[in-house]
């Protein structure tokens, strides 16, 4: 006999499609310039208590500038979709910005190790945590993007991940197959870094999409940072390439090297030395405080941050590394 389980996890976002429809009905969709600054975007579109979803994948194509600004502006009580949140989670943990998390992957930085500072938040009991998986969080975005309150899938059964989720078991009305229903996730704000965007918010992304196509459609508000702004004509020249159309987007900011110290495919590789320094700084509370002060609070812009980290000289190396172009006779970038 199989035990009937009612998962214990809290549902942080309302999956109701009709309330979401009313919101989207009212959302303005004029094609007009949404170009703004990082400061303005964060102060205008991110409010204490909002639930946020972050594009890219942990330390790849992440919106670093926005994340730093969230910490600088002292945003609090955010909800976080921990959909492979690695360095992004680490940044927000530095500001203790969030107090509830849908966890698929947090506190780790993959092969690089674990963030002590992020772990501390989870271990001190200061957060509300609901467990999910990368796929179920992806499908929760997709449900919202599709305008349905749930999607069925076939994972999580029989595990504690399920017990501490907010999913439900259902049966297929056609085949009787047992399925897991995951509820639509409509984040208040999505923050996504892209390769190219026009001033209206039409975006192109090169390489893997991760879940950003669905995330941009699921979110009630979308903030885009872009490596470069391009003319609308360029978007219209290859409409096949538009990953995020303008009517989803509320703010566009040109932030060159905006994923730094993360990887940006075809542009620059991740700065493993800086990421390592960050992890090491977390070993000691005073060092860590100093580190965060130096690299986030004392800094005014993403360019300033980059200059602290070696500036364009360092970025040239990371660019060579990404493109695998040797910069010296030893074949090193």
């Amino acid at each position: 006999m199989v035990e009937e389980i009612t998962p214990a996890g809290e549902l942080f976002c309302d999956p109701d499609v009709d309330r979401a429809r009313e919101f989207f009905r009212a959302k303005p969709r004029r094609m007009e310039s949404k170009v703004t600054s990082v400061k303005e975007a964060v102060s205008r579109f991110i409010h204490d208590g909002d639930y946020i979803g972050i594009g890219g994948f942990g330390a790849n194509r992440i919106p670093t500038a926005i994340l730093h600004e969230i910490v600088r502006q002292g945003k609090k009580h955010l909800g976080l979709s921990g959909h492979t949140a690695t360095h992004d989670c680490q940044i927000l943990a530095a500001g203790e910005c969030f107090d509830r998390v849908d966890v698929a992957y947090v506190v780790g930085l993959e092969a690089r190790g674990l963030s002590k500072a992020a772990r501390r938040l989870f271990e001190e009991g200061k957060l509300k945590v609901t467990e999910w998986t990368n796929a179920t969080l992806a499908w929760r975005y997709k449900a919202a993007a599709m305008g349905v309150p749930f999607l069925p899938c076939r994972v999580m059964f029989g595990t504690d991940t399920y017990k501490y989720s907010a999913a439900k078991e259902i049966r297929c009305p056609f085949t009787g197959t047992k399925l897991l229903a995951v509820p639509a996730l409509y984040p208040d704000v999505a923050i996504i870094h892209v390769h190219r965007a026009d001033i209206y918010g039409n975006c192109q992304i090169d390489g893997i999409m991760v879940s950003d196509s669905d995330l941009a459609r699921a979110a009630k508000c979308v903030i885009v940072t872009t490596e470069r702004l391009i003319p609308n004509e360029e978007i219209r020249r290859e409409p096949t390439k538009t990953a995020i159309p303008y009517y989803l987007v509320d703010a566009v900011i040109e932030v060159p090297y905006g994923s730094y110290p993360g990887n940006m495919a075809y542009e620059y590789f991740s700065d493993e030395e800086h990421l390592k320094a960050w992890l090491e700084a977390e070993n000691d509370p005073d060092t860590y405080k100093e580190f965060v002060n130096k690299y986030i609070f004392s800094v005014n812009s993403h360019w300033e941050y980059i200059n602290l980290c070696g500036g364009m000289e360092r970025l040239s190396q990371l660019r060579a590394l990404e493109l695998m172009i040797p910069l010296n006779a030893n074949g090193e970038a």
């Binding site: 199989v2 890219g56 994948f57 942990g58 330390a59 790849n60 921990g82 492979t84 690695t86 966890v103 698929a104 992957y105 947090v106 506190v107 780790g108 993959e110 092969a111 674990l114 772990r119 989870f122 271990e123 001190e124 009991g125 957060l127 509300k128 945590v129 467990e131 998986t133 990368n134 796929a135 179920t136 992806a138 499908w139 076939r154 994972v155 999580m156 059964f157 029989g158 595990t159 504690d160 991940t161 047992k178 399925l179 897991l180 090169d206 390489g207 893997i208 999409m209 991760v210 879940s211 196509s213 669905d214 990887n263 495919a265 075809y266 590789f269 991740s270 493993e272 990404e322 695998m324």
Partner: protein, 257 residues
């Protein structure tokens, strides 16, 4: 050690299970090294994928992240996480590799926490990531892991990813796709499979120089033993050469020993 270390041995043993024409979703580290080695030595048609969307790259080096640009470098496709996960759910992915902090005799894996209270754990780990998904949906799940009593435990603190749960039929009863489950666990001591009847972990071959006692000392639950427990075949010269020269020349993985 006869010219190879335990990490090299584990990678070579794992690589041999990945037959030509198969599909495998891997993470960073040893699994990726095993898949790259398999592709270069045995299975040129092995299809390597990464959960963030990379499909069939010509991997120029070890990825640092399952979403970094190496994972789709000259790939046949740079897709998305739903694309990979749905391909697994559709039944098109043969193998995956998982890691974790704890594993029990049924191959259930904990990568979430140590402690009793999820809201205030003793130690917080990253969580499932894609592990639960891959363990649920891929046909065969493998592990490459060090073996000790802290890791191989009677009962994991948290079942993050499903092994055979409580034994034969339990996966299917719980709702997981039939025919899936843990396949091999490759450690620094031995290779283990899973018993057909009980779905419990069963030692199949012991690494050169390792004793049965060492395995028992380093396992926190009762192991089964195959009728014919063999000796694990050491790395071939070709395997070692390719692993060291082409797969991991900077010894990121094989230097961890």
């Amino acid at each position: 050690m006869n010219g190879y270390n335990k990490m090299e041995l584990m990678i070579c043993l794992a690589a041999r299970y990945l037959e030509d024409g198969a599909t495998v979703v891997v993470g960073t580290g040893a699994p990726c090294a095993a898949a790259m080695l398999a592709q270069k030595v045995y299975s040129p048609n092995l299809m390597i994928m990464f959960e963030a969307g990379g499909i069939g790259p010509l991997l120029p080096s070890m990825p640092i992240s399952v979403g970094d640009s190496r994972t789709f470098y000259r790939g046949v496709a740079a897709s998305s996480m739903p694309e990979i996960m749905e391909m697994c759910q559709r039944g098109m992915v043969d193998y995956t590799f998982l890691g974790g902090a704890q594993i029990d005799m049924y191959g259930n894996i904990n990568s979430t926490m140590i402690g009793k209270d999820l809201q205030r754990p003793k130690v917080r780990f990253p969580g499932s990531g894609g592990a639960n998904d891959l363990a649920s949906l891929c046909w065969r799940t493998m592990m490459i892991t060090p073996q000790d009593r802290k890791r191989f435990v009677e009962k994991v603190d948290f079942v993050t990813s499903p092994g055979y749960l409580t034994g034969k039929g339990a996966r299917e009863a719980a709702g997981l796709p039939p025919g899936t489950g843990p396949y091999k666990v490759i450690t620094n001591l031995c290779v283990m499979g899973f018993d057909e009847e009980t779905k419990r972990m069963k030692v199949e071959s012991i690494h050169p120089g390792i004793t049965k006692e060492e395995i028992l000392e380093n396992t926190g639950f009762e192991l089964l033993w195959a009728d014919q427990v063999g000796s694990s075949d050491p790395p071939t010269e070709e395997e070692l050469r390719v692993l060291r020269e082409q797969v991991d020349p900077y010894r990121y993985i094989i230097g961890r020993q």
